[in-house]
């Protein structure tokens, strides 16, 4: 059982939270046109391919059964230890950048 520190509500049990996939996935763009012609391979890479890290990974979590806010976490997928919690739009703290 993980205890997760929501940036807004403090420490809560893991069952209040929902995992929302990896953080910091950048949508592919071609040139500066957001509707540009991204190749199928790049789209597939963005949509489906995953690092699926064994070790510390950067993930999005939502306090869905609580305040409803989303945030980021650096969490170890083997030990489930949580190393850092940081807000949406922020970069991971020093030491947890890949």
């Amino acid at each position: 059982m993980m205890k997760i520190t929501c940036p807004w509500c403090g420490v809560r049990g893991e069952e209040e939270f929902t995992h929302g996939g990896p953080s910091h996935l950048a949508r592919p763009v071609v040139g500066d046109n957001p509707m540009g012609d991204v190749s199928d391979a790049d789209w597939a890479d963005y949509l489906f391919m995953r690092d699926n890290v064994k070790g510390v990974s950067l993930e999005r979590w939502g306090h869905i059964q609580g305040c409803g806010q989303w945030f980021n976490m650096a969490r170890d997928s083997v030990t489930h230890e949580i190393h850092a919690v940081y807000k949406m739009g922020e970069q991971p703290p020093e030491g947890w950048r890949s």
Binding site: M1, M2, E14, E15, T18, H19, D40, A41, W43, A44, D45, L47, F48, M49, R50, D51, N52, V53, K54, S57, E59, S77, V78, T79, H80
Partner: protein, 416 residues
């Protein structure tokens, strides 16, 4: 290979069971093989067996980090069925079921297949509508399955609360009679023993730590016990697929999650069918030893820890007690988890990787035990011919680029 039979059992009993041979050797690692198979689970061992048996490629090593069958193969709840939705899956899983039906003879090892049937319970009008439709596609795919009503359900599953007072009243069920269970580690041991007899080296306690790749072509693997040369390498490591892919420099559409299961103390025989209830998200069978074998949904976040959390376990138990109120006082004996390889369309990936000579079998997620024979069979074919067999040509890694998904999510029961 010393053949197992009633006679050999009697003969060895007289000799106080001191004359049994080792079931497979523990050979030294050679410096080169024609094919190296990574992962000594059911799929890896079956791949090695069919390489030797069907394609005459016997200079093969199966390299296993721990002990054979110690991954998901020895952790699953052994449900076998082929009632999938799409033609590609139906063909593939039904082929697997066919192989299972002859497997004990084929391997001269009793895998304890019990085809007592697979029941999928329907709890609402909507369940019924969806499953009637699925049943039609099963029939179109040539998969035998029947609609049965509640009285027949209650006859097949004594103790199941089929009353109108149930929180999720049972409206009927789909029965696949050829579905059932088998002994999971028997499948691993049977393939290991038969592969070994054909000359395959099974190397345990040996983890692959890297690949030698030159000009996009695999040359061999590095392991904790030294380097092995091989022009062909097949990966079958389930939950660790992304880790191996990373070593080879590519990524997979796979996320690793914990799937747990539990068993109760042994009881007198109650029912022999396997019962799945998609609405409550749980399933149950009774083992030959009498234990109730129970499972449910995934722990819904990535994990490489082979345990599960208590919240999911509570959900499983709550669902089971809802279906079988009279099991509420039965004690749990064990709980465990395995790390499963989940992909977006709940279908496997069997075939080529971006590296030449490197093949993969993964993505079976929560339901690959039933596919062990077919997974090994098709991967062996693909490795031997450097092209997929008809049965696995749709299950490519490329489909994530072309969009030709085979979306089996929830199509025919819950996850298994």
């Amino acid at each position: 290979m010393q053949r197992y039979s009633v006679l050999s059992l009697a003969r060895n009993a007289i000799r106080h069971h001191e004359g049994w041979q080792q079931a497979w050797r523990s050979p030294d690692l050679k410096s080169e093989y024609d094919v190296v198979v990574i992962g000594g689970g059911g799929h890896g061992l079956a791949t090695a067996y069919y390489l030797a048996k069907e394609h005459g490629i016997t200079n093969v090593a199966v390299v296993e980090a721990g002990w054979i069958g110690g991954g998901n193969t020895g952790r699953n709840t052994t449900v076998i069925r082929s009632n999938y939705l799409f033609p590609q899956s139906a063909k593939f899983y039904d082929f697997s079921l066919n192989l299972f039906e002859d497997l004990s003879q084929e391997l001269n090892f009793n895998v304890m297949l019990r085809q007592a049937g697979m029941l999928t319970l329907l709890h609402s009008r909507h369940d019924v509508e969806v499953m009637r439709r699925n049943l039609n596609s099963m029939h179109m795919n040539g998969i035998e399955a029947d609609w049965i009503d509640t009285s027949e359900v209650s006859r097949l599953a004594p103790g199941l609360n089929c009353g109108a007072d149930a929180h999720y009243p049972i409206q009927g069920a789909i029965l696949q009679k050829r579905g059932g269970v088998a002994r999971h580690d028997g499948v691993a041991w049977g393939y290991a023993r038969a592969a070994d007899a054909l000359g395959v080296d099974i190397i345990q306690q040996c983890a692959v730590t890297g690949f030698d790749i030159k000009n996009g072509q695999v040359q061999g693997v590095q392991t904790t016990r030294g380097t092995i040369k091989a022009k062909k390498v097949a990966i079958a490591v389930a939950g660790h697929s992304s880790v191996l892919a990373d070593m080879a420099g590519f990524r997979l559409p796979v996320t690793s999650l914990a799937l747990q299961a539990c068993v109760s103390e042994p009881l007198k025989p109650v029912f022999d069918v396997t019962i799945m209830s998609p609405t409550t998200g749980v399933y149950i069978s009774q083992s030959d030893k009498g234990e109730m074998v129970m499972g449910g949904m995934l722990d819904m976040y990535p994990s490489y820890a082979q345990r599960g959390n208590i919240g999911t376990l509570e959900h499983i138990i709550a669902g089971i007690v809802e279906l079988f109120p009279n099991l509420s006082r039965v004690k749990l004996m064990r709980q465990w988890a395995g790390i499963v390889d989940i992909v977006h369309d709940s279908s496997p990936i069997i075939g080529h990787t971006p590296v030449e000579g490197l093949y993969i079998n993964c993505g079976f997620g929560t339901g690959g035990f039933k596919a062990t024979p077919a997974g090994g069979w098709t991967l062996a074919y693909t490795v031997a011919h450097d092209k997929p067999h008809k049965l696995n040509e749709a299950f490519t890694l490329k489909r994530f680029e072309t969009g030709e998904f085979i979306d089996e999510m929830g199509a025919a029961g819950i996850s298994h």
